[in-house]
C-alpha cells in the first residue's frame, strides 16, 4: 500500500476504508501530502457530514417529554408496544375454558340427573314392591273380621308351625261353640 500510495492516489475503496475503519498511517501521510486526495476525501465526507448535522439538529429540536419514573403504570404508547398476540391468546383460552365450564356444568347437571333417575328407577321396583307388600299386609290384617281372625295366622303359615296353628284354630272354634251353647242354655233356663 505504501508504494501504491507513493505512485498513485487513494482509490474509492481506500477512501471507504478511511471512513469506515479510520485512517491508516500510510493513507494519512499521503493525504497530508496530496491535495487531490485531500479533496477527494473531503468530497466523500461532505454528504455524510451534511446528513449527520441535519439528523442531529432535527433530533435535538424535538421536545423532551417528562419521564414518569415513579409510577409503574404504562401509558398508551407503552401499551402500544406490547405484543398483544400472547395476551389475546391467553384471554381467548380463558374465555373458551369459562364457556366450557359453564356449559359443561349445566350439561353435566342435565346429563347426570337422568342417570341417577335411571339408577333409582332400576332399584325402585324392589323398594316399591316391599312397600306395597307391607301396605297389603297392614290392610289385610286390619280388614279381617274378628270371626275370621284365626285365619290371619295362615298369612304367616309355614310347615313347621302348621300343626300347632291348626290345632289352636280347632281349639278356638270348639271354645267358641261351647260358649255359644252355654249362652243358649242360660237363655233356656231364664
Amino acid at each position: 500500500m505504501n508504494t501504491d500510495l507513493q505512485n498513485s492516489h487513494l482509490s474509492a475503496g481506500q477512501i471507504d476504508q478511511w471512513l469506515v475503519e479510520g485512517p491508516s498511517v500510510e493513507a494519512q501521510g499521503h493525504v497530508a501530502a496530496c491535495r487531490e486526495c485531500e479533496e477527494k476525501l473531503a468530497e466523500a465526507r461532505e454528504p455524510l457530514a451534511i446528513f449527520r448535522s441535519a439528523v442531529v439538529a432535527w433530533s435535538e429540536s424535538q421536545p423532551v417529554g417528562k419521564i414518569s419514573v415513579g409510577e409503574e403504570k404504562r401509558g398508551f404508547r407503552q401499551w402500544a408496544l406490547v405484543d398483544w398476540m400472547p395476551v389475546a391468546s391467553v384471554a381467548f383460552a380463558v374465555l373458551v375454558l369459562a364457556v366450557f365450564l359453564l356449559r359443561g356444568g349445566s350439561l353435566l347437571r342435565h346429563d347426570v340427573a337422568p342417570q341417577f333417575e335411571a339408577q333409582f328407577e332400576a332399584k325402585s321396583p324392589v323398594i316399591s314392591d316391599t312397600v306395597l307388600m307391607e301396605q297389603v299386609d297392614e290392610e289385610v290384617s286390619e280388614t279381617v273380621p274378628d270371626a275370621m281372625a284365626p285365619l290371619t295366622d295362615l298369612v304367616g303359615w309355614d310347615s313347621g308351625t302348621a300343626a300347632t296353628t291348626e290345632s289352636a284354630a280347632k281349639h278356638g272354634v270348639k271354645k267358641k261353640a261351647a260358649a255359644s251353647r252355654g249362652k243358649a242354655h242360660g237363655r233356656g233356663n231364664d
Binding site: 454528504p47 446528513f51 433530533s59 424535538q62 423532551v64 419521564i67 404508547r77 407503552q78 408496544l81
Partner: protein, 203 residues
C-alpha cells in the same frame, strides 16, 4: 450545575465521567443528555416517529429501573444504546411493526430534516447543493436493509467505534464492517447519481 458539567463532558466524549458527574438517579438529566442520540437511532431503525419516541422514552425508563445493574463496564451512552437496540428488536418482532412496515408511514420527511441544516454564512447555491446531497443520502439510507441502516447511523451519525457498534449490536466486528462497506457503497452511488442528475439538469 451538574447537568451543565455532564453535558460538557458528554460533548467532549467523556461519557463515563459525564455519568459519574450526573448519576443515573437524575434520569431527567441523563435523558436531556442522551435523548437525541437514542431517538436518532430508533428513528432510523423503526422508521416510525411515534414508535421511535416511545422506544426512546421506554429506554430511559428501563435504564432508570435497572440503574443498580449498571456497573460502568461500558460508557453510559453505550449501555443506553444497548437497551435501545433490544427495545427496537422487541418492537421489530411485534405485529405492530409488521403492520407499520407495510404501511410505511409516519417517518420523518427529508424536507423536514432539511429545515434543520445549519448553513451559517452559506450562499443560496451552497445551501441548495447541501439540500440535494442530504436528499440523496437520505434516499439511500431509506433503501438500506434494517441492519445496514442501524449500523450506518451508529457509525456516521453517532460516530461510534467499530468495536462499540459490534458490542451494542451483538455482532462480530467483521460483520459490522461488512454492513458498513455495503451501506457506504450504496450511499456513494446515490450521491454520485444525484450529482450527475443535478449537473445534467443545470446544463
Amino acid at each position: 450545575m451538574a447537568y451543565a458539567l455532564a453535558k460538557e463532558m458528554a460533548m467532549s466524549g467523556d461519557a463515563v465521567q459525564a455519568q459519574s458527574a450526573l448519576g443515573l438517579d437524575d434520569i431527567e438529566g441523563v435523558m436531556r443528555l442522551y435523548r437525541g442520540r437514542i431517538l436518532r437511532y430508533a428513528m432510523f431503525a423503526v422508521r416510525d416517529r411515534d414508535a421511535a419516541e416511545t422506544i426512546t422514552q421506554e429506554c430511559f425508563l428501563k435504564a432508570y429501573r435497572a440503574r443498580e445493574s449498571f456497573r460502568g463496564d461500558c460508557s453510559l451512552s453505550t449501555w443506553l444504546m444497548q437497551i435501545a437496540v433490544n427495545l427496537v428488536r422487541d418492537y421489530a418482532r411485534s405485529k405492530q411493526f409488521q403492520f407499520w412496515k407495510r404501511a410505511q408511514s409516519a417517518t420523518v420527511d427529508v424536507m423536514e430534516a432539511a429545515e434543520f441544516l445549519p448553513h451559517p454564512g452559506a450562499t443560496a447555491e451552497k445551501s441548495l447543493l447541501a439540500r440535494e446531497k442530504l436528499k440523496s443520502v437520505w434516499a439511500a439510507v431509506e433503501k438500506l436493509s434494517k441492519m445496514q441502516r442501524e449500523v450506518f447511523v451508529l457509525r456516521f451519525v453517532e460516530e461510534m467505534e467499530l468495536l462499540e457498534i459490534a458490542d451494542v449490536m451483538g455482532m462480530k466486528e467483521s460483520t459490522v464492517k461488512s454492513h458498513l462497506y455495503r451501506a457506504l457503497n450504496a450511499v456513494r452511488s446515490k450521491v454520485q447519481a444525484g450529482a450527475q442528475a443535478g449537473t445534467i439538469g443545470a446544463k
